[in-house]
Symmetry: C2
Subunit: 350 residues, 2 copies
DNA sequence: TTTAGCAGACTCCGGCTAAGACTGCTAAGC
DNA sequence: GCTTAGCAGTCTTAGCCGGAGTCTGCTAAA
């Protein structure tokens, strides 16, 4: 008896989940509340609408779906979507052709910056949502060459060549005036000592050697260290590249111009979006933020799907898409996943 | 008799113009069609609504205003706005405090790039419209220092320092492998020969001297010239910086989400906007494009107010704002004008 | 030339109705 | 005990109607 009861329970929750799944799939497709009659037809379960209604009522009690008003069908809640993506979703395999396109497009990029912006554009184009890719973290960047150039008294231009293709300029103000030959000497020393190491390593070694030999070091050497310290100290580039923002305007649920404006303002101010991306850079694999889950008002009604990209098993950035909560997760997830993998492969130092 | 008729005609067109002016001013203020009764009150002319109606009818015949439907007031047409800004407008003087803010904000910028983006933000913030500033033309940029850095076989990083604050990197691929000392020699020569001149001058001199001495020149010198040519040949940066795009979302006339999307897409693709800006870089002073005048569909319903900025009397870029046709021209025009002047002053090489 | 007055047109708004879509409930059936 | 048919009730949507308000164009008078 007990056993039979348990089995019934199990088959019941299974049925409920299956119905939730079809409901969400259907809702994602046409964006309108799903009624019991429609769900009965779609479910493939040969149940009458009345039975479906009972199940739907249960699902509503569980907070997985809700009815916009008394006599409308049901739409998924954030919690419903969460359950859907966590355990119900069956992702669609990607077409090989699309994967190839991604690979080729990214491989054709000239430098790191354009790889990043290409990745963002591709994500946006393929998913028809907004693509986002963070700039790679500096910690994973190997210094290849450093050069100093005197701009004017006490102003020095520092040129950093990194990873064979990326170049950064920084202008620093110094305490004292350096002669051209002094700068040359400093650069020579730093190149001999630190070329080939990654920036964070250099930074930490710099600090220790400065402390160790504060007195014994000759003046120029000490100044050199100070220079280098100043260069590496400059703010790290917390930044991302967006593409296809306007894609969001095609979605009905984004018709509220104020919501849209808030979202776009968030894109511009970058802070809120970076916060989300920061969270997912720490997590191992793919992350999905659904609607208000992120605790951020402007992201109500939108979901963010992200995946970290890495070089040599170290996560150096995040990429993903931003779209309405009602997005085709089954299609979007593999796209984000693959793009992250391809980007990782491309960025691997050769 | 003839004289009196002429005088009457004149006073009549004067009256019509005055009425057009008040109508547009009023419409700019509250964005709703203006009826004869309202206009009669606002005009200060002590005429009855009936008389006003006759005049409005004339104005409509002239294509300066139109009625959205039979029993509504009148709104200005593009042609009406054109007449308004060309001959009727009285611009408001700017508050000294605002001018000071602009000056300080721009002067505080670290380098050319940030001056440009600051200018764009300020325009957007003060006018509550979308600010746009083109990057300065390269032709007006003085080379201060050039440096070559070998990245790998046949790949060279070129560093150009311009105008004391701006730095540009270009990576070029060469036909043959250059040694470090060869590069050093080339750089030394170019610095000695060309430092302090502007890039376009350098470019033309380069070409002539290459032709002149093709055979007599020693090999390295010839290679040096080729290098320099390659550097300067790289595409010029046709680009602009936008700020405050989302401000446009606050305007009622922009409620059509499709129009808005098209406009934003145009911002992103840059081509259409650059076309407008190109036109106004050639004109001497301030330019105003009203609605569809520009011949561009996406710019229906929006106006663009631009002013060129210059260094040493040479126009090197354009700046302005983009907003609904119904914008407060009397306030916007001086703001754009002053900002252009301030930017010109700031960019003057010291 | 200006004005008053009037008929006509059109928008906007609220209220009302009919149609349609669902739900929840109850009672009957397997 | 689960499932189902049927039914009453609820809510949205679209459409229609009528009144209020606005504004125009016309005509005739000042």
């Amino acid at each position: 008896m007990a056993r039979s009861r348990k089995e019934t329970d199990k088959s019941n929750t299974e049925r409920a989940e299956s119905l939730l799944k079809t409901l969400i799939e259907r809702y994602i497709q046409d964006g309108q509340p799903i009624g019991s009659r429609a769900l009965a037809k779609d479910s493939g379960l040969d149940l009458s609408p009345a039975t479906i209604r009972n199940v739907m009522s249960d699902l509503e009690d569980m907070g997985l779906i809700l009815a916009p008003h008394t006599s409308a069908g049901r739409v998924p809640t954030d919690k419903g979507y969460r359950m859907f993506v966590d355990s119900l979703l069956t992702v669609k395999p990607m077409q090989a052709a699309v994967v190839d396109t991604i690979k080729q497009q990214l491989a054709a990029s000239a430098n790191t910056d354009s790889v990043i912006s290409n990745a963002s554009s591709m994500l946006s184009e393929i998913t028809q949502l907004t693509g986002v890719v963070t700039m790679p973290k500096r910690e994973q960047v190997r210094l290849e060459h450093i050069e100093f150039l005197k701009l004017s008294t006490k102003r020095i231009l520092v040129i950093l060549v990194m990873n064979g293709q990326e170049v950064q300029n920084r202008v620093i103000d110094t305490d004292r005036d350096f002669s051209a030959s002094e700068l040359q000497q400093s650069a020579n020393y730093l190149n001999a000592e630190f070329a080939g190491q990654d920036l964070s390593t250099i930074r930490s070694r710099l600090v220790t050697s400065m402390q160790q030999a504060r007195d014994s070091m000759q003046q120029l050497m000490q100044d050199t260290m100070n220079l280098a310290d100043q260069v590496l100290d400059s703010s790290k580039n917390d930044d991302y590249i967006l593409a296809g923002e306007t894609n969001l305007m095609s979605y009905n649920e984004m018709c509220d111009i104020n919501k849209l404006r808030n979202l776009f303002d968030a894109f511009n101010s970058k802070r809120d979006i970076l916060h989300i991306l920061d969270q997912s850079i720490q997590a191992e694999g793919m992350q999905i933020f659904i609607g208000g889950e992120s605790g951020n008002k402007v992201l109500d009604d939108v979901s963010v799907v992200t995946a970290p990209y890495k070089v040599d098993d170290d996560v150096i950035g995040v990429l993903g898409v931003i779209g309405p909560t009602r997005m085709a997760y089954d299609r979007v997830i593999p796209i984000v996943d693959v793009t992250a993998k391809v980007l990782s492969a491309i960025l691997r130092p050769d």
